[in-house]
Symmetry: C2
Subunit: 196 residues, 2 copies
């Protein structure tokens, strides 16, 4: 699923993102990440000298950028199209993995920082959320939504889909995502004036 990438560094990062999305950060070992990417353990410390923390941070950024790119590609067609792309992405991941994989950004977000200062992976998770919200909110405003309400709706959409993906995994059913999708589509229609 992540073995066709030629660049080993990138392959390790993509594999790490996938494993973190399944098991969480602490529960994923560097040895498993290496094996999952078909790379030797020594290579991980060659490519990522700062160890697990650096690899996790890059994995979160990788996943965050993947979603951001998809949003940037679809949002010009309107907020509803962006929502649909967001939904489709998670729907595919959840179904293809047999309800075993989810969002690596969420997985990192809910792990308690071990010390008082923030681990960079957690900061990267916050940045990913922020970027997704900003992209969505800007599109809502561009389609006539009230600026303040656009921010609220964007937060709600990201949070609701993230939460629903987790619910789908627990229930081993895609139905919650369909229900959430229906309500979020209606909400977008409500806050953006009718077009054409």
């Amino acid at each position: 699923m992540a073995g066709s990438e030629p660049d080993p560094r990138r392959r390790i990062v993509a594999g790490a993102a996938d494993m973190i999305s399944r098991r969480g950060l602490t529960a994923t070992s560097i040895r498993e990440m290496a094996k999952h990417a078909g790379a030797p353990l020594g290579s991980t410390y060659h490519y990522f000298p700062d160890g697990k923390q650096q690899l996790a941070t890059e994995a979160v950024r990788y996943a965050g950028d993947l979603v951001s790119r998809s949003l940037r590609r679809e949002l010009p067609a309107g907020p509803a199209a962006g929502l649909q792309a967001f939904l489709d992405m998670w729907r595919t991941i959840v179904l293809d993995s047999g309800f075993r994989a989810g969002c690596p950004v969420l997985a990192v977000a809910i792990e308690e920082p071990p010390t008082d200062d923030l681990p960079p992976a957690l900061v990267a998770a916050a940045e990913a959320f922020d970027q997704w919200e900003t992209l969505l909110a800007d599109s809502l405003r561009a389609h006539g939504a009230d600026p303040g309400e656009a921010a609220e709706v964007a937060t709600l959409i990201i949070a609701a889909v993230e939460g629903t993906v987790a619910m789908c995994r627990a229930k081993r059913s895609i139905e919650p995502l369909d229900r959430t999708a229906a309500q979020l589509r209606r909400l977008i229609d409500t806050v953006t004036p009718a077009e054409r």
Copy 2:
């Protein structure tokens, strides 16, 4: 925070729920759960002979019932009151823990099952989500919401709040919860006919 309970078994379960909500299930060791509850390691295997899995399952059920009880207490005053209780509960947990704790049910929901058959803790997480949704949906219907839409809105509310709590932890800010809250309140007003 969980040391005032006299019954040691219950104290261990409550402490385990708290730790799981911070670190996730795999990252929380039985030794830490015992120490956190002021109980010896041997006691955990005395009270929970099936080990970590049994303790985790009871912790998830404990947290699920805590929320369900709060919902049952507040929902007779209407869906908006139930939402407020739900929001207040997570708001308190997130703020009191300094953005370190969240929802143990969500934490268990996003951990990949190690084998093909479902661990009981994951089943308990699905049941908790189901119970919360059912309580909320029934209240929405009782206040005039369309039955199908009530189910969709209930799913959205639970998922959105769970996702927002995770977002608040990553951003170390309570603001996402306030934004989500405002939109969910509006949504409830929309689907329940005006009263009085």
